[in-house]
Assembly symmetry: C2
Homo-oligomer: 311 residues x 2
């Protein structure tokens, strides 16, 4: 359940006037853990309404301008609508709210190699298309964040786990990334954030962790989910397909090839830490939705012992 | 046949690199009388390629920025793609060329009242959405143009027809339009420039006559085609449905109600004159495509004698 804010018919009808849209019907969308989403049917078709539960009105332009920029460059993602006053968001039920185009397609649990290849290709396309995007956003979940967060977590962990976490954070802190190409990354391109229509990408969604960071770190985050089998291990064929798709559009340079194993570990670390935090300090209202941190601890251990990185 | 410019596979493949797109296949589109259009299938889906046969590269931004603006405001129309350098158009085969999103739907010959209502609604939405559009374009087919063009035509017409044309041009010249709301108009919203998906508008297309002019003149141009029966007369039910759809979004003000009969005549006049010109001075390459000017002469006569204007 993730409709945190209940919108009334009257409030929505009034708000939609700013878009020249007449409401036909609307219904809450169950997926999503941070924001409230509705399907909104109008006389001009279906849109998705998002109410931002944590972001302030002056914090949303980065994300909405980014989606708009990407959509206009042919990256498959929702295109935000401009209202009569050329705004991408305004207040609804005391929250910043926006309307975006509704994509067809659905998320998938068990992708094929062809689908992994298509996601890699589109991610590289996103990275290239964002090169002309002007706004920037620091990564709020970077090395500074995980080091700080770990301090809260150590006392709650077994000695062995704390030692692993401490060691990985130390390892990552020693690693310099200044030689790596940076840009705007999605930072959360898990399987549930991609809508597929068969083997084609209907769209990447949920850009609300997007930020400026190392491009191949984004590849590592996505691959860690897309190529991961139900038993937690990475499937070499899916991993190779993902990287093949990505590199067909944007090949890794020499520095990226060298840094790749480290970035895979960093991406596993980041989600191990955030899931540990969710487990021990769940957000208000998110009680029903805690994912197992063990998945990413196991993946980190696997990456640390790995010798073939599918390049 | 309207593929005036033949694009080679190699040239297209190269040009698409600017959009991060990989060509799968392409085929010419037969419809259209001014520009060359192709369907282009890529690994990221289908787009429409337009090569401008008469416009120069510095003349296309108005039209493409307009379509982009309208699409971003939820008006159903093709959305132009930005390339890697954030350009909406660049040269291909010595012509300005652009890529736009491919709409589903098809044009229809015999619209229902419901469809006329939907077109009127979307036209009003377009007029309102264009209110924040910054670029402007004079109407190249306005009163100055038809008065000049008529001088070439009079010697080629019968005395009775020339007298009618002369009288209507004089009548329109005496009519002041400065009191009427103006804005960006489509100026050519005939049935073949609207793609329908059932009763819904898939999109308005072919914005290459768009310009700044009187808004209800645009309504008159569209209604003169959408509500016209095969025998050339206007169907009152279709006309009322069109106006009802339009006025549900943007009601006529008092000045517009008064000017409406005159605008219907002006819209008939404009296409009578351009069709006469096409008949007597066909454009090079457009030999197979001359439409009957008599349709709009008859419509003008009908409007001049009309007493009920469906408002």
């Amino acid at each position: 359940m993730s409709v945190f804010t209940v919108v009334t018919d009257t409030a929505l009808r009034d708000w939609l006037r700013q878009y020249e849209l007449q409401l036909v019907s609307f219904e809450g969308i169950a997926a999503g853990v941070t924001n409230t989403n509705y399907f909104v049917d109008t006389t001009h078709g279906r849109f998705v309404l998002t109410l931002f539960e944590t972001l302030k009105l002056d914090e949303v332009p980065f994300y909405l301008e980014l989606m708009s920029h990407l959509a206009r460059h042919g990256v498959a993602c929702p295109a935000p609508l401009l209202d009569r006053q050329d705004r991408l968001a305004s207040m609804l039920c005391d929250r910043p709210a926006c309307l975006v185009s509704c994509l067809h397609g659905r998320d998938i649990d068990a992708p094929s190699s062809v689908q992994c290849c298509a996601v890699g290709d589109m991610l590289a396309t996103q990275h290239r298309a964002a090169a002309t995007f002007k706004l920037t956003m620091d990564n709020p979940r970077g090395p500074g964040w995980w080091a700080q967060t770990a301090k809260v977590l150590y006392p709650l962990m077994t000695d062995a786990e704390a030692a692993l976490l401490r060691d990985e954070i130390r390892f990552q802190a020693q690693y310099r990334t200044s030689q790596l190409p940076r840009g705007v990354i999605h930072a959360d391109l898990f399987k549930d954030n991609v809508l597929m229509a068969g083997d084609a990408i209907a769209g990447f969604i949920d850009f609300y962790y997007a930020c400026n960071d190392v491009l191949i770190y984004d590849v590592a985050i996505a691959l860690n989910d897309w190529a991961r089998l139900p038993d937690g291990s990475i499937d070499a064929e899916l991993a190779r397909a993902f990287l093949q798709g990505y590199q067909a559009v944007r090949p890794f340079d020499a520095a990226e090839i060298e840094a790749w194993p480290t970035m895979l570990r960093a991406a596993a670390l980041r989600f191990w830490v955030s899931r540990l935090l969710d487990l021990h300090h769940p957000m208000a209202g998110a009680l029903t939705y805690t994912k197992d941190p063990g998945t990413f601890r196991a993946l980190l251990v696997e990456h640390r012992a790995r010798s073939d990185f599918w390049l």
